[in-house]
Amino acid sequence: MSVLPEPAAYIAPKARSLREPHRIVLMLIFAGLIVCAAWFMRWDWLPRYQERLLYGLWQTLLLLFSTSIVGFLLAVPLGLVQVTGPRPLALLARGFCTLIRGTPLLLQLWLLYYGLGSVFAQFPEIRSSFLWPYLRQAWPYGFTALMISFAAYEGEVMRGAFAGVPKGELEAARAFGMGRFTMFRRIWLPRAIHRALPTLTGETVLQLKSTPLVATITVVDVYAIISRVRQETFLTYEPLLLLALIYLCLTGMLVYAFRLVEKRIPSRGA
């Protein structure tokens, strides 16, 4: 790489002071927009729906955390198998990732809910089993679809991360007499997660942004509640504006939380 200083135009915009004149003007415009929203828009429905909105928010977060945690636990073996596993298993994992990543999540969701749901109903054994009350709800299908999709995308990330850990570190671990499992637990996995963390942030944000899709199979999340509001109050802009604001806050908080985690993980020599 060149050691010459970068031309001025190539320096990325830095975070500058909020007291710069144009920022003040922009903020005034923004404040004006907020005043307009408060003045011309109707928010009287908000208290009536407050409780349901909070419930929807809780459902969205529950869905996000449950699917991303279980999905990540699935993604680790998926990635590892592709790097070191026996060939048939590696090909299987590879195919799974390609299959899931190559089709839209909405389609997978509908395939599971409408397709698999209707197939399940044809088997009397399933209908009489203790699982049937759960299988008739939409939640398990939404959870499964989101989890599988997260696992596939993360699996690809983890594959790259596992492959990217320098071979010397693994050899050093072996030279220390670590067994395969200890080496994986102590060296390979932490280093891979460390390398993957920035990408994991992005994937988790994407996961948050795909949770509203489950509303199309009647899972009640914050998006579904807002859709209800739109149907019942005949308002177009207000509920959608609120929804966008909610998701903006959620993504912001998620990114901030990951930053904290990233800072906490020691990065000696990384």
């Binding site: 010459l4 390609t98 509908w110």
Partner: protein, 240 residues
């Protein structure tokens, strides 16, 4: 089994033709949206890199908002509010309300979403060009526009291609979200066909195969493009 496969035949009792028409609609929106996104993205990246402070801040707001809000919500907002806003403007101008076609609205929606992502991709790619190459162009006396066309854009291509190809694959799959606003693309058509015939698995699997085919073919094309963009260059990963 044979009966369900007959449902997929192209002629009238089967729904195969309908699915293919849906696929065509999806691909149209994906192509249009992707191209619009590239145009917005190029302009946005240029604005972020070389624009004044005001332009930069406005673009920052655009990319942050679009990247922070789910595509589904954006599609709803742009689809309903966008068409509503157009009609209100037309009413203000004293013109009759226009009927915005689903295709145009879909392309617009996907384009705005893609534009934010490609702004970031292109900005990052332009920033990763070794500064010496730009300086060389300047030393040759190229005007900024000529340098952009001859040096900056071709030189950033290897850095941008992985991100751009990713965006294309996202665009093809984002079209499925238009099903929610009632645009007759592959996913919605599939659901209608499945609902009518009750052969849910058959149709959803068929649609999945179609989407997968689009992805796999795209992958082949992307690989060829990457090979061509990287001709005579060290691979960017290797250069790091």
């Amino acid at each position: 089994m044979d009966a369900t496969l007959q449902l997929l035949s192209l002629q009238s009792p089967g729904w195969g033709g309908v699915l293919l028409a849906g696929l065509a609609a999806s691909l149209q929106v994906a192509f249009g949206g992707y191209l619009l996104g590239l145009i917005i993205g190029t302009a946005g990246a240029a604005g972020k890199l070389w624009g004044g402070p005001v332009l930069r801040d406005v673009l920052e707001v655009y990319t942050t908002v679009v990247r922070g809000v789910p595509e589904l919500v954006l599609i709803l907002i742009l689809y309903y509010a966008g068409t509503d806003a157009v009609n209100q403007v037309m009413a203000l101008l004293g013109l009759p309300a226009v009927d915005i076609s689903g295709l145009a609205a879909g392309i617009f929606v996907i384009g705005v979403v893609q534009g934010a992502y490609s702004t970031e991709v292109l900005r990052g790619a332009i920033l990763s060009i070794p500064p010496g190459q730009i300086e060389a162009a300047r030393a040759y006396g190229m005007s900024p526009l000529l340098a952009l066309r001859r040096v900056t854009l071709p030189a950033m291509l290897p850095f941008a291609l992985p991100g751009l190809s990713n965006l294309w694959l996202i665009a093809t799959k984002d079209t499925a979200l238009l099903a929610v606003v009632g645009f007759a693309e592959l996913t919605l058509v599939t659901r209608q066909a499945a609902g009518t015939t009750k052969a849910y698995m058959t149709f959803f699997l068929a649609a999945g195969a179609l989407y997968l085919a689009v992805t796999l073919i795209s992958n082949l094309v992307i690989r060829a493009l990457e090979k061509r963009a990287l001709r005579g260059m060290v691979r960017p990963e290797a250069a790091l």
